[in-house]
């Protein structure tokens, strides 16, 4: 170690660099004696192990998803026999046909789109406006901050909230599906951090001198510069609305107003196939074989349901992810 200290940094860097270049091409045995190689070799082992770990992890993460997709286009008998492992077997769209024949699923799909689009639109607008206001100084800011933050740690609970909503005549309406939990304080904080760290303060100073007011500054300056955080908020709010089944379970009684996830619950998250089969394929032929077919068809239909319900969220994410990951990082770092 003492000898190393005497070396000039430049020399040392070169000494360290040479074996690394060699490492990819030839493994020179005489190089092994060098101490620097020991460092890089342990690094190479680390990299190799790391790569293997990630390949395994990726398999664990992606294989179940892949399996669902190939199962959804396979023949029910093949799935039942455990033949569908890596490729679709006896390609068929039977499951999708069965799902799309269900009026209730279609209707709930449209409901979900409506709740998600309108609900997230309102949420994003309200959140951005408040987030901007919280980046400025004004009288009573600490009180307002407290009002928001406190709700992150304490809330009334399910039952009092339910009774309050019922007293407000919001029970069993479309309105509640759109505006309940409209503002997420967590998202508000992310948006606030993002705006205060990316929109330069000089811009604000310039606007002050030019005699701009807050509305104009917000709409003409802050919004155009906040594309990334708008994308992040859209995905956050959109996905949480799209995926929510519990709100409808609590607040909606009228089946025509139910969103997709709540209907899916009846299809997917049940122990027995028979109830599902009854509600979904009540027109099986009456003979035993017909019933078995119907049950198996219902099994494939489950895979199809997963694909058609998860598809939009995943596609939205994949398209947005470029902006998205960067925006989340900037927003969450300080928050």
């Amino acid at each position: 170690m003492q000898a190393k200290v005497l070396e000039t940094p430049k020399k040392m860097k070169e000494r360290l660099r040479v074996p690394r270049i060699r490492a990819t091409s030839v493994r020179a045995p005489e190089m092994k004696k060098n101490t620097a190689i020991k460092g890089t070799r342990s690094d190479r082992i680390f990299d190799a192990v790391n790569l293997v770990v990630w390949i395994v992890l990726l398999f664990i993460i992606l294989y179940p998803l892949y399996l669902i997709v190939i199962s959804s286009v396979s023949d029910p008998t093949a799935i039942h026999a455990g033949k569908v492992l890596f490729l679709p077997v006896d390609f068929s769209l039977m499951g999708y046909e069965a799902v799309f024949a269900q009026k209730e699923i279609w209707n709930s799909y449209l409901n979900s789109i409506f709740y998600t689009v309108v609900g997230s639109g309102i949420s994003v607008a309200i959140t951005l406006a408040a987030a901007y206001a919280l980046t400025r100084k004004f009288i009573g800011k600490s009180v307002v901050n407290f009002i928001f933050i406190f709700t992150m740690f304490f809330n009334g609970g399910l039952i009092p909230t339910f009774l309050t909503m019922r007293d407000m005549h919001l029970y069993n309406t479309r309105t509640i599906m759109i505006i309940i939990n409209c503002v997420s304080v967590w998202n508000l904080m992310i948006a606030r951090t993002y705006i205060s760290s990316t929109v330069p303060n000089e811009l604000y100073e310039a606007a002050v001198i030019d005699g701009s007011n807050h509305f104009r500054y917000f709409f003409k300056m802050v919004l155009p510069l906040s594309g990334t955080i708008i994308a992040v908020l859209c995905v956050y709010y959109g996905v949480s609305r799209w995926n929510d089944y519990f709100t409808a379970l609590v607040y909606i009684r009228n089946r025509a107003l139910l969103p997709l996830q709540t209907i899916l619950r009846e299809v997917l998250a049940t122990l027995t196939t028979s109830t599902t089969t009854d509600s979904f394929f009540d027109a099986y032929e009456g003979n035993v074989q017909g019933m078995v077919d119907a049950i198996r068809k219902a099994e494939v239909a489950k895979y199809c349901c997963i694909v058609i319900s998860t598809g939009p969220a995943v596609v939205l994410y994949v398209f947005m992810q470029k902006y998205f990951v960067k925006g989340v990082m900037i927003g969450s770092l300080k928050g």
Binding site: P9, K13, S42, D43, F46, D47, N50, W54, L57, L58, I60, I61, L62, P64, I79, H80, G82, A130, A133, F138, I147, F148, T151, F154, N155, G157, L158, I159, P160, T161, L163, T164, M168, I180, V183, L188, E202, E205, I209, G211, N213, H214, Y217, N243, Y245, Q261, T262, L264, R265, L268, E299, Y303, T310, A313, V314, Y317, V328, M329, I330, L333
Partner: protein, 313 residues
């Protein structure tokens, strides 16, 4: 812009750096405040029903006062200990196993030296997060089904005996926590990756020159940088140790796995809303859990500050 350069920002601040109409800020805040008040604070006012015997005919403020009866009923109920420990253990195991995994994943991902593979991995590990709870539970029912689930198919192929996962009490926590980690561990790396990418590269260069291997660099550079953020996340998680994963547990609960899946959140939902009669009683349970969670966050935060580590507030 030429105007700005004439004034230094300090002199502007002295004059009082304000747009001349701060009332507009309040206008921008009002929608969010109204929403928060309606959906968070008005229900808090409704919490008073825990001290009353709520009857729909008399409303929240008109029902009869009964003092602490609802709480004593709950604490003396036959399954109180089981529900409390189920709730606590489910969250504790979930936190103990689920918390370190994203930290390790973030460190490993950050060390990845193949940029394209790294990018692909980063995109892929976030995907399961976008699956809904209903679909997640559905996947569990499908894959772990005793008749045609792939897991039991593999077990049988390897000579084992098929297991009825969804009704065995012993499997409930494993499936619940395992699927949670599968879904969210990748997503939860975002924060840690953000911290790691923010580390000054000169630190790594200096360490490399001093002969530090990758594992050394992780130990002496990455981990110290991650500790403050990880502590903060841990404090936040402590609030949810008695929190309810009602939506997922409700989906995964079957009559078979009740001994471990009977948790407080689901009990509140089924007793309060499905049966629709015991509003005061279930609201009292909800409040009880909320207060404990609140106290836990505050005390963990206090301890963390005393130890000289990070604190939330």
């Amino acid at each position: 812009m030429t105007d700005t350069s004439r004034y230094s920002s300090r002199s502007l601040r002295r004059v009082g750096l304000r747009l001349h109409n701060d009332w507009q800020l309040y206008v921008l805040l009002i929608p969010a405040l109204v929403m928060i008040i309606i959906f968070s604070y008005v229900p808090m006012y409704g919490v008073q029903i825990v001290f009353r015997d709520y009857k729909a005919a008399f409303g929240i403020t008109g029902s009869k006062w009964v003092g602490l009866k609802n709480f004593t009923d709950f604490l003396q109920g036959p399954y109180f200990a089981r529900r409390l420990s189920n709730t606590f253990l489910l969250n504790l195991y979930g936190l103990a196993i689920g918390f370190p995994i994203p930290v390790v994943m973030a460190i490993l991902l950050n060390q990845m030296n193949k940029p394209r593979f790294k990018k692909l991995t980063q995109t892929a590990i976030y995907v399961p997060h976008f699956i809904s709870t209903v679909v997640m539970a559905g996947i569990l029912y499908l894959f772990f089904s005793p008749t045609n689930g792939i897991v039991n198919y593999l077990i049988e192929t390897l000579g084992g005996k098929s297991i009825y996962f969804m009704i065995e009490p012993g499997w409930f926590r494993t499936l619940f926590i395992g699927s949670d980690i599968w879904q969210h561990a990748g997503w939860n790396t975002i924060l840690y990756i953000a911290v790691l990418t923010g580390i000054d590269p000169e630190l790594y260069e200096a360490a490399t020159i001093d002969g530090a291997t990758k594992s050394r660099r992780i130990w002496h550079i990455d981990i110290p940088h991650l500790i403050p953020v990880a502590t903060m996340m841990l404090i936040l998680s402590c609030g949810s140790l008695l929190g309810s994963n009602t939506d997922k547990a409700l989906l995964m609960q079957t009559s078979g796995n009740l001994p471990t899946s009977d948790i407080i959140g689901v009990y509140v939902y089924t007793q309060g809303l499905v049966k629709g009669t015991q509003f005061s009683f279930t609201a009292a349970i909800g409040l009880f859990m909320n207060v404990i969670s609140f106290v836990m966050v505050i005390s963990v935060n206090w301890i963390s500050r005393k130890l000289g580590e990070t604190s939330l507030f």
